[in-house]
Amino acid sequence: MSSSEATSGSGPPEEIRAVPVRRPGRWIAAAIVVVVAAALIRSVVTNPRFEWSVVGNYLFDQRILEGLVVTIELTVIAMAIGVVLGVLLAVMRVSSNPLVSRASWLYIWFFRGTPVLVQLLFWYNIAALYPKLGLGIPFGPAFVHPDVNTLITAFRAAVLGLGLNEGAYMAEIVRAGMISVDEGQAHAAQSLGMTRVQTMRRIVLPQAMRVIIPPTGNETISMLKTTSLASVIAVTELLYSAEQIFAVNYKTIPLLITASVWYIVCTSILYVGQHHLERYFGRGATREVR
């Protein structure tokens, strides 16, 4: 009698119920995590110096909320500048005109090579370098002469500093995305009679988005937090608003926690947005039918 006949008569075989291997290491590790977490939570809850009631009082304080709005404004405007500039610099970088591509390289080299805090301070003090700005024909007559000191407010200095710096990073992200698209895509588009601009806009960039979106999400989250640097040039964003309050009432820790709570709320919302963008631009990349 063959073995296949031996099993076929008695229906499906009995399910295996084996004694699992003991893993004491797992239990010890889990115990350590639980103990450490419990100790942390206990200290956070019982240490009166956290002053959670103060955090609660200031969480929806008018000044804090106004600071939050400025933080969001800074993030949105600086990222918008960064993305537009990034695409422009990336396209310049792959240009066949050597001067154009070198210019892009130089920009990226400079803005990535200097600290963003220094750049912020630089823009804030730009009036010391160029007190007057002339808008007109280069080397010719100027039509308007705005005073730089009034033109570059703290907020505008922060937008310039953060946005121009972000452009350098976004340029590298966009370029990586463009490189990731197979060359055959451009050939196919060209063979159909599309111009280089059409090929870039309709074929290459939409596919590059799949590679560009995740790091751009990181950059946005990073930007939201980096805006706190603008507090050093007295932009009344979230951190500076908190600082102004604790400068008066000395509730330093609770107010720093208040600001942190809002930062974490905002970054969490960005997480969700990033997830949905990734799904949208990932279409066609998988076999599953949606």
């Binding site: 588009a189 060209q190 159909l192 596919q207 990349a285």
Partner: protein, 254 residues
């Protein structure tokens, strides 16, 4: 005799210092199907890419439908064409690639309607209607909304053929259209190409499918080392090759 659809006169192409095409002279009449055979690296694909000016040639003359490819002749001098004029001429030549090169972020119908809409400025509704009809003709009427990743290789290549046909080309170039396919999928793509040849399309096909060349081609050209070694009707070149290199190649692939 009518104007040849493609006329190559001593076409030379170099990549850096490496000469890939060393004087290709051939002519394809309207409605003719020409198969290019030859070992890899013999310059077949490069020659195809020169025809729609994806590659520049360094010497010789290349005409499509009586017009110089990529240049305008003014007296003795050649003037490079503007990108707009080059793309305009490319739009009249369809090309099918070895690796399909479908746009993965668009559905099958999106792939087929993309170029008619943005190059020929045809209305969305009209483009979709025509696209659906073309996909029906290559046997994919039920796959209009499928993304390329959801299609088999043979289906993808048929979408790619429909995409090229959507521009209503007067000439179709096939660059090893079945080389990347599983053997059992080759037939469905060749069937579509046969149907196209039967409808009178002018075609230049780079292929290793000797059977297809024998059955469908009007002319078979054997290339090696950047030159045309032998050309003529399939019965002559495939059945009774005169050149030693052609014979050696055929004995390996048959």
């Amino acid at each position: 005799m009518s104007t040849p659809m493609v006329n190559a006169e001593s076409v030379h192409k170099r990549f850096g210092r490496q000469e890939v095409l060393k004087g290709i002279t051939l002519s394809v009449a309207p409605g003719e199907v020409m198969c290019l055979l030859g070992p890899s690296g013999s310059g077949k694909s490069t020659f195809l890419r020169c025809i729609n000016h994806l590659e520049k040639i360094q010497a010789g003359r290349l005409f499509v439908d009586g017009e110089l490819v990529g240049y305008r002749q003014v007296g003795e001098k050649l003037h490079e064409l503007h990108e707009r004029e080059v793309t305009h001429k490319r739009a009249e030549i369809g090309m099918v690639f070895q690796h399909f090169n479908l746009f993965p972020h668009m559905t099958a119908l999106g792939n087929v309607t993309c170029a008619p809409m943005c190059v020929k400025k045809i209305g969305r509704e009209q483009a979709r209607e025509r696209g659906a009809e073309l996909l029906g003709r290559v046997g994919l009427a039920d796959k209009l909304d499928a993304y390329p990743a959801q299609l088999s290789g043979g289906q993808q290549q048929r979408v790619a053929i429909a995409r090229a046909l959507a521009m209503e080309p007067k000439l179709m170039l096939f660059d090893e259209p079945t080389s990347a396919l599983d053997p059992e999928l080759v037939g469905e793509v060749l069937a579509v190409m046969k149907q196209l040849a039967g409808a009178g399309m002018t075609m230049i096909v780079v292929t290793h499918e000797i059977g297809f060349a024998r059955e469908v081609a009007d002319t078979v050209v054997f290339m090696d080392g950047g030159v045309v070694v032998e050309s003529g009707p399939p019965a002559d070149v495939l059945g009774n090759p005169r050149n030693e290199r052609t014979r050696a190649f055929l004995s390996k692939v048959l």
